[in-house]
Subunit: 335 residues, 4 copies
């Protein structure tokens, strides 16, 4: 069974999701795109070989749309989610669910009334290998019971027009979710500290913010949210626990400090280290057979040259010094 | 068009390739498995919902096999590759092409006679994001012209029964290929230095080896190949060039040293940092809709809780101190 | 002129100071030790070849005491500092000056009345190469104007009997001073957040603390002070500024992130890298001449062996392969 | 007893040694400087408050010269060392002992004839905290028995006029010595591999070199010696052993990889982390008392301000939110 997906929103995130569904996720296909910006919808649809729809309702109700992705502006999420729930289609809705509690409540009530979990929120960090590894650090096998979590979320320049409130509801919302998920705990109270603002902060706004949550379980979660940090994009998370500390640095790597050692795990086998390489290799090979790309990967000539070089090295095992590598000239087929 | 693949070999690598084709690579499906160990082939086929074949020829000649993966023991690669070439099917053959130049030459002659590039060698490191990034480091935009390359290839314990020659032809063959590819240069000569061996080295064998190639262009490529390194698996590569040095460390991260700074790139945007998370999120969502996994990702309740926490933080922007987060109790649907 | 120093306190810090003055600081000598624990004072004095005094007054007033180090318990600092001021002797007083503002005020009034700066506080982090380098990061040549500073101060187990207040007045006092010094700014307000405590926290106490200062200039300074962190000792400081971020990690190394690069400085010359080695080498050589240590450093034989090895390498420059190193047998003098 | 030292050579290294002896090494004083460049000798002597001598003999034979430092050009070391041995004065001679075995042999014979170890070679890396820590890594408590050592020695631009031979005898001589010292083993044979040279290599010379030694015990020691590396100065050393690998990176930090973890040691206590800070603090304090520097370190005002800030934090322990820090205005004495 292939899931036929309709995508609402042809902006950055909508386009990224549509491409992933069409080219990198087995079992799915994209059948329809909707955007209030019709040319954008048409262009993306054409690129993916599907159609664009004239209205939101056309997409949501289409027979060949089994599931929906909502990647529209934040303020539209709740209303569109309600429309998807009304037709009982599984929906992945970008974060946030809604900028206000009132709107979020209406969607929650609707799904509870249906009695089936149809809506998934796009908090994609829960699938990030870095955060997944960080969550495994917590507990008896790792660093013990969490006491504090220090989060950093910096953007080189905030894409959406910086507002102080938007820093919370659009950006720090990621940390709000991921710390709940990491700690499996709910928040009890919060305060935001606003110090001196950086030079790129628009008039009337504040940036960076320092947001501090206390959870019901007593964990202090602090978040530096700095939207105009100039130097680049960076997300880090440090969990301070009863037996040690784990840092998720840029790139998702985990550094664990316990018992006098600050360390990074070394894999036992090559499969872990080159997992992505194996998948990408297969994808490239299949794409080239399907005619979507030219010959790719190592050719027979490359294998032949490697065998030549290896045999010379093997010969050197039995001598003491240099052995020539005599590679014949390359056939035209491999030029 | 979906490419129907037959996989020869149901061992570690064959199983990994078959799983990738079946579950992670759009556009492909696995239709047949062959292994001399028939129960292994049957078990893998059953897991993937395809058939196993009684003979190699049955797999290679099958009408529903468009392309073949060869993941058998090293000594069988050349012969099986010739069989695949004979029926003109695109084939991905695990490295090495052959342990001897003579066998490699026969496969090369066959493909040249056909005049079409049908065989791809499984040098998957060419697709590793680490090596791909390292190759981009070379040249005028990066560290300049390469002068030396220092490679390390260590295994905790060599899986295949360590022999000194096998270290070259089965393990270091990866470095042999990847340095040719990095440098776009051929090897001119080689020597292998064998010092004191480690404590786990089998009688009559030598480990580690220090292999040194000189390329036609004068680059010195050294490879420490240490198959019984005990501590874990590690692959590193350092390119020393005219304007600086780039290191690919474990995990594939690049550290570039030029002009008095040793540095790592910081991304400009979140898309790069969380690319994998977006893909994996979509895969998980589609898999749950297809019924291959239960509900996954953030639920509507998670989105609702995040909105609650964010709204309290927004309220705190206007006060000076703590604001309570009053989350209602969780509906049963989300327990 | 050699400064003759009297040291009050023969505990950990007093002993460390006395040893530094006696053996590592040119221009100083230790002439007297006082401690209420007389045997401790006598033992340290005997080790250093000086005398211990029967009373504090004896030490402070002694003619052969030009300057005083106060390394007694925190509660005695203020009173002893007043005694030293009374005799107008330069004094280095361990931190804190006093646990209460009232006591601190009396010392301040005394020195102001004298009109001469005689007292130095033992905030030794101001001399730590790491913090010194971090301060150089701030400003136009570095990361720009500071906006936030994140500090971490962790002890494996607090030496002095943990109390929540002591965490502030004895431990976090270091961060309190060093951030004033880094920022050249005064504090405007403060709050301490106490979440869940760790498992080694004594009954009735809280640990870790999260201390947040706002400076007059609007910089947010947060300090995680975790006295029973189990895993080890760690002090880090991260300055977040208008153009980038600088981290002082364990060991004092600076990582600066600006303009899409996270980097560490590479020295231009060997002098910087091996500055300590040169000083320690000279100290070891002088100590051996003075008969305080046996022969140390590289012997003439080591120089001879190096010349042998180098000459063989030079010969290899003109050949192509191995050259033997023929070192004669080692004379008995060097065994 | 204070050792009165005469320094031969007023260049970079001679000046550095003279300054260390005069200002950073207790127990020593510099009484005489000699250099063929008389104005250079006079200038350095004047800076240190000692005399320069008209001839080498005047310095070596002077009654107020107890010990000699030889920091002249490489080719003069052997002859000057013989002159110092003749008068039985302890001598620290910069590396190398001599560029040729023949000259080195004469010095060795002279000291053996005397029967007393008077000469120390200036291989200062033996005192570098990085190499000292690396040597502790070797053996049963650390990474086990060494099998290979990978060394890198890079200069931004070679100070002395690059010659291929000089790279060995003047620069790589450091690695030649330090690997003997690390391994406590002698070299058996050597070869030098010269690949493509970098763009700054003078005509007729080769750079970088790849130098490979095998020790009597069978350890392979390779050295990349790259004198015109452009980007900066860097020295690294990686010991590959039976149970793991230890890296000494730039700055001397040790990273040990064993048993699936790549880690760096975390100190148990603050004394280790801030050892240098304590020494430098004391030196600064003594220097200011001696009138060699103005007031330095934290003033009484700094201690007072810290007590104010701490007391406000202590008050905050008992409240829930912000507490003001009311620092009085700063007395003129501390402006």
């Amino acid at each position: 069974m292939t899931i036929r997906v309709g995508v609402i929103g042809a902006g950055n995130i909508g386009t990224a999701h549509a491409h992933n569904l069409a080219t990198a996720v087995p079992g799915s296909t994209v059948t329809a795109i909707y955007d209030v910006d019709q040319p954008a919808a048409t262009a993306l649809a054409s690129e993916l070989g599907c159609r664009s729809t004239a209205s939101l309702a056309d997409l949501i109700n289409a027979d060949d749309v089994d599931a929906v992705v909502i990647a529209s502006p934040d303020g539209l999420h709740a209303e569109q989610a309600l429309a998807c729930l009304a037709v009982r289609k599984p929906t992945l809705c970008e974060k946030p669910l809604a900028p206000t509690i009132e709107a979020a409540q209406r969607v929650l009530d609707a799904e509870v009334a249906i009695g089936e979990r149809l809506l998934t929120l796009g908090f994609m960090r829960r699938f990030d290998p870095g955060y997944v590894a960080l969550k495994r650090e917590i507990g008896a096998e790792g660093i013990g019971t969490p006491l504090m979590v220090h989060n950093v979320h910096r953007n080189a320049a905030f894409a959406y027009g910086l507002t102080t409130e938007g820093t919370v509801t659009n950006a720090a919302i990621h940390e709000i979710d991921i710390n709940r998920w990491l700690l499996e705990d709910e928040y009890a109270r919060v305060q935001v500290i606003m110090g001196r603002s950086g030079p790129d902060t628009p008039d009337g706004q504040r940036d960076p913010l320092f947001i501090i949550y206390e959870t019901a379980g007593g964990v202090v979660v602090d978040i530096e949210a700095f939207m105009m940090a100039r130097y680049g994009y960076e997300v880090t998370c440090q969990v301070v626990a009863s037996d040690g500390v784990s840092d998720m640095g840029d790139g998702g790597y985990i550094t664990r400090t316990t018992a006098r050692v600050r360390g990074q795990p070394v894999p036992e086998q090559w499969i872990g280290r080159f997992r992505d390489a194996y998948r990408i290799e297969m994808q490239a090979w299949i794409d080239s057979i399907r005619g979507r790309a030219g010959p790719t990967g190592a050719s027979l000539w490359d294998g032949f040259a490697a065998t030549h070089a290896a045999e010379a090295a093997v010969e050197s095992l039995r001598s003491d010094g240099w052995v020539r590598v005599d590679l014949p000239s390359r056939p035209d087929l491999y030029r």
